[in-house]
Symmetry: C2
Amino acid sequence: MASTKTAISPTRNEDYPEWYQQVIRAADLAENSAVRGCMVIKPWGYSLWENMQRALDRMFKDTGHQNAYFPLFIPMSFLEKEAEHVEGFAKECAVVTHHRLEPDGKGGLRPAGPLEEPLIVRPTSETIIGATYAKWVQSYRDLPILINQWANVVRWEMRTRLFLRTAEFLWQEGHTVHATAEEAMEETRKMLDVYTDFAENHMAMPVIRGEKTPGERFPGAVTTLSIEAMMQDRKALQAGTSHFLGQNFSRAQEIKFQDQNGQIEYAWTTSWGVSTRLIGALIMTHSDDDGLVLPPRLAPTHAVILPIYRDDSQKGEVLAYCHMLRKRLQEQTYHGESIRVEIDERDMRGGDKKWYHVKRGVPIRIEVGPKDMANNAAFVGRRDTGESRGMPIEELISNAGKLLAEIQKHLFDKALQMRIANTVDIHTLADFRDYFQPDDEQGRSKGGGFARCWFASEQAVQPLLDELKVTIRCIPLDAPGGSGKCFATGQDAATQAIFAKAY
Amino acid sequence: MASTKTAISPTRNEDYPEWYQQVIRAADLAENSAVRGCMVIKPWGYSLWENMQRALDRMFKDTGHQNAYFPLFIPMSFLEKEAEHVEGFAKECAVVTHHRLEPDGKGGLRPAGPLEEPLIVRPTSETIIGATYAKWVQSYRDLPILINQWANVVRWEMRTRLFLRTAEFLWQEGHTVHATAEEAMEETRKMLDVYTDFAENHMAMPVIRGEKTPGERFPGAVTTLSIEAMMQDRKALQAGTSHFLGQNFSRAQEIKFQDQNGQIEYAWTTSWGVSTRLIGALIMTHSDDDGLVLPPRLAPTHAVILPIYRDDSQKGEVLAYCHMLRKRLQEQTYHGESIRVEIDERDMRGGDKKWYHVKRGVPIRIEVGPKDMANNAAFVGRRDTGESRGMPIEELISNAGKLLAEIQKHLFDKALQMRIANTVDIHTLADFRDYFQPDDEQGRSKGGGFARCWFASEQAVQPLLDELKVTIRCIPLDAPGGSGKCFATGQDAATQAIFAKAY
């Protein structure tokens, strides 16, 4: 039995998967809906997504991209054109077959108006966007096309988990077209840089940048790059992918152009995306046994002011003081924007009110009562460290931006230390088996983490990986190169990758 | 034959519906996709939508609303619960019946994995959101719920037209829950005010605010309020609606709460929405025979600078001057934001470049050549009036914000004058028939406009309206009241409404 009571039960140690669900519930982020696998993103969760969107959208525009919008539906025949692609998605497609409802004669309804060709609700839009690009691209002068789309997509998943794996999710998908392979590959890398910047500097989530092995690539891609983060249960989470599609989709969709020499060529395309899954990653990177912990860059509220008073005569004075304090804090900036401050004036027990904001992850709590007022002070609590102390309000105001920056940095550093402490080099099969023991009954990893291993053949190690439920996350871009001995076979190996259990 | 060549052919007078399509094409706003009825919104069109979203989202938040996200799919049984609602939407529902694809044995694919219950792609979300709210609402303390959703919806339309009527469109839908009818009705009116403010002050599109007659209400609503605008062909376009749903949906979805006296009651709900249809309205309100005309409040680019030079030696100097000019213009503000200025440096014939921006509706064009530079001047063209003249750049810079405000006001005033000039009071059936003559072969109204008429019974005039393809747009909220004689029957009538042909 733990001696300290935590706001979230069970704790991470007791039952990690259930802790995750309870953090979401306690922070009021999302819930399951009446439709299998589809979630409802509640206001606090959606405001996190809005902040993510705003930051990413700025980055996409700063790298020359524009937004557009393409159809939700894809004709079935479009999917058939790229063989690997359809194989990758056929098993999880929501299929529209009718376009109206009619009375079923028993007081209910039934589908009517069968479509000539079934339509797929987009699981990803390479095919439908490619068909449009084929019409836009005639000459090298029409290139590059640099477009992003914010949209919902559907992948029919049998086992779903809020944010991490849902039948419908929100995402952005970039789709670009280039005249040369080099330029397309440069775009693929550039967008991985953008995702890395976002993950590390906005989400405070350190990531490993790498290339996927052939078995883990996006269906239809030539090269898939990804960023991989470590969650607190030491499992990996793929947080964003950027694909070099070569000419695969341009051949399937006939995206051709006349080059400067008058030759007709197939274009080179890329696609890249991140989704509401990032909210799951954010939760599992920073949250603790008291609930959600938000990095200030993405927090909808930076600081909440909690007025404390015993009666109405105190209330008026305290509230006036709180409004003054909010105004002064809002005049301060953090990353070029006004600090986001709320006052929680609800009529509620002080302890309940405090825990309400603890569980929702607000970075700074500021309690103000008559005594604090008299001393020109406030009682300031940090969500990330749990520290709290009285502080002169002039100090609070002048240091607010700095404090937020400190919290942001602390969260990143802590997550990085956690990853470093749980990343090992493994050279033998015995050590590998020992490191990746089966999960316990609650689906919690026993030991484990990231293992850096040389390996000779993806196909040769696949049965072992399937047995242990381990996957090759990526071949890190910053790997030192050289060669080693395969951990499984002892053969010479030219590739070193990160192995881990993963979400 | 017109003596002046126009950029758009045909002109509004020659063939209005085709002119509309050509304006969209020339401005590169959108196009039809390979999927019947679904459009592709191209970057210039989407950036208009982004600007609309940004302004509306601010207004929603300023009136106390939060965003959230609910499922794309609605179980068929949910729709069945509200009889009028399902009747209104059953004929245009995209129905998902399967959740995977399998080989059809002939080298193609076929739907597989039939669903136990078909899912409807949301045509609007009252039912799925209501089912969620039923879980959230227990007590009067849980009310009000004030939530908005930005989403795509699908209504299977047989005859589609870009932006105005498409199978899939983008919109926002507000869904609120209240403890009393009065509060819900106040919300319904408040959101109509927000839409009015947006239409008139951002879109520069004057609207008539009114209540729909029973025959024109949203399926399931008790009261539907709308804003109605007049397009340049004198037809009406419903630009936004706000519905008081009474307890109809809360009864169907079991949204109940315990009031302050401990009684269990059904809640009162509202819903309100505007869509990408507004882009169609924007086009048809302001554009002319040279293409799109954008109101500055929504224009992605306020001013475009067109450098003019004969050779490379001039080019460097002219471009440097243009960059200086852009920087100085960007330091000016319009409605509290930095003026949005682009330089078009593309290597293109000067005339083509000018017309490119004319057709895309950029409010201000600034041409700068070596002579202008020498005189510290520029040649400035207004898109709305077509006027252009040389101007000292200091005058241009210091007046830029004022000029944009003038353009915005001019567009509104012109549209308002147009509506006033084409709104009449009609008292007799003969005059009504004469006013609403059939459209010509191109679908262009001959005469017509808005008719203000007293009428005794909606049902009684319906056959006449169907014959003439006229609809009752709304009973204006600012109608003076009183009574009159029914234009159709001469009976006493207590209601005066706006009648018009409509999109």
